[in-house]
Amino acid sequence: MSMFPLSGSLSRRLANWARVRSPWVSVFNTGSCNACDIEVIATLMPRFDAERFGILAKGSPRHADILIVTGPVTTKQESRLRRIWEQMPEPKYVIAMGACGASGGVFQGLYHVMDGVESVIPVDVFVAGCPPRPDEIINAVVACLMLMKEDLDRGGKEWRRKPVERPATGTAPQEPGKVPA
């Protein structure tokens, strides 16, 4: 690339263009109630047809650009989720599905649950809903692509880093005897 400065920028622009047009997703269930998973399948079906946007569901996390995580992350799935995330090639993005993926939802604070995907791996996009509708899922993937574009323009994910460190919910000690609802 350095030999041809012009072609370097051209090839980078081409790569960036391709990246936002070809989001391949992989779905991982970390203890959800299945509703989110069913809705993800529904996006691939004739009614919603996610392939219009180049979205393809891939079985292997190695092929995926975007990992869709459903469920509040049970303690047993925690290590497995991290392993899946590590298996994905860079650049990789994570979408946390639904209320459970964002915060644990109705399962927040239960003893076998990690309270959301972000306590385990970094999340780029959260989708609201319980479960999110298929069109919202497609919308989230598209939002993730916009974010990807922004990242590419700014040269990385650094700009999104929060200035203040928030306390990690996963480590917050719970009041003994009381399960937060």
Partner: protein, 323 residues
């Protein structure tokens, strides 16, 4: 041919540049036709190209304990084999590389990607990949015999082992698709199996083994393997078009020569597209069969149909020689 012209032929048109563009177009049409038949909208035009570029830009991960060099080399070998095979397919008139026996060479080159896939699966050290690789090779043994026999029949009848000459022969005597309908059908089914498309996507059956030999491939390896399969689609349908549908040659003579060239090229496009539509419909209308069922179909029906075709061809030859 002059070296310059030859270079243009290999690199630009109708060589590799055209090949890649056409491969992406066929891939797009394939997905679009499938989507329309399933009442979906389907992908945008540049989707296969975007997929390819994106995969090139992704991180390459070496699974633990793999032989990195072999892992890098296998997709390159596969792609090189498929591209070389393509050069012997007549696209605008006969191929400049044509020689007696290039048919056998092309068939051999088209087998290499499957072997590469098996190697990749074997090297991955992942159960899904190994199972997929073994399945790919098992399938190869099943469909390869009828496929070869079916594709060699035109050579037998035309009395030449050169694809371009076989295409030329049809200009005078009529298409082999009409003379050898059984061979044509077997050739199409064999091509479908070779490309590992439904109902023969057994090695990469997503419900069963994630992505088979593809599971551990990332970045440019994945991109090259995908491109290989797409190039195989072009080369394979071009081969069938040349052997059974008269290739780029018209049944009558056109002058001047440049007009004939353009017409021939359009013929090539049209015929490969027809073959693609047939293959895509087959893909949509069927589910995946089990490898034991493929075994049944392959040996019981395909093989015996091809042997019947061989008998007919020999009989026709005998009658013709006799008269």
């Amino acid at each position: 041919m002059e070296p310059l012209l030859l270079g243009i032929y290999i690199l630009l048109f109708p060589g590799f540049l055209f090949l890649f563009a056409y491969a992406f177009l066929l891939q797009y049409l394939d997905r679009k036709i499938a989507a329309r038949m399933q009442q979906r909208v389907g992908p945008p035009l540049l989707q296969p190209f975007a997929d390819f570029i994106k995969m090139l830009g992704k991180e390459v991960i070496d699974p633990a304990g793999v032989d990195r060099k072999a892992f890098d080399a296998a997709p390159v070998v596969a792609l090189a084999a498929a591209m070389t095979a393509y050069l012997y397919i007549p696209i605008v008139g006969g191929s400049p590389f044509a020689f007696q026996g290039d048919l056998v060479l092309v068939l051999y080159l088209l087998t290499l990607p499957t072997i590469a896939l098996f190697l990749l699966g074997w090297l991955s050290r992942n159960v899904f990949s190994s199972v997929g690789g073994v399945r790919a090779v098992t399938m190869l043994f099943i469909y390869e015999v009828p496929f070869f026999l079916a594709l060699l029949m035109p050579a037998l009848m035309a009395g030449s082992w050169s694809i371009s000459e076989i295409a030329l022969w049809q200009q005078e005597h009529g298409w082999f698709a009409l003379l050898q309908p059984i061979g044509f059908v077997v050739g199409l089914i064999g091509l479908q199996a070779k490309l590992e498309r439904q109902p023969f996507d057994i090695p990469e059956a997503e419900t069963e083994i994630v992505a088979g030999p593809w599971t551990e491939l990332t970045g440019r390896r994945l991109a090259l393997m995908h491109l290989t399969m797409q190039v195989m689609l072009v080369a394979g349908s071009g081969l069938i078009a040349a052997l059974f549908l008269g290739g780029p040659l018209l049944p009558w003579n056109i002058s001047p020569a440049w007009l004939a060239t353009i017409a021939g090229f359009l013929m090539f496009l049209g015929k490969t597209l027809v073959i693609l539509v047939i293959l895509a419909s087959l893909k949509v209308a069927t589910g995946r069969i089990r490898i034991d069922q493929l075994n049944d179909i392959g040996w019981k029906y395909l093989a015996s149909a091809t042997i019947l075709q061989v008998g007919i061809v020999l009989l026709m030859d005998y009658i013709r020689v006799g008269t």
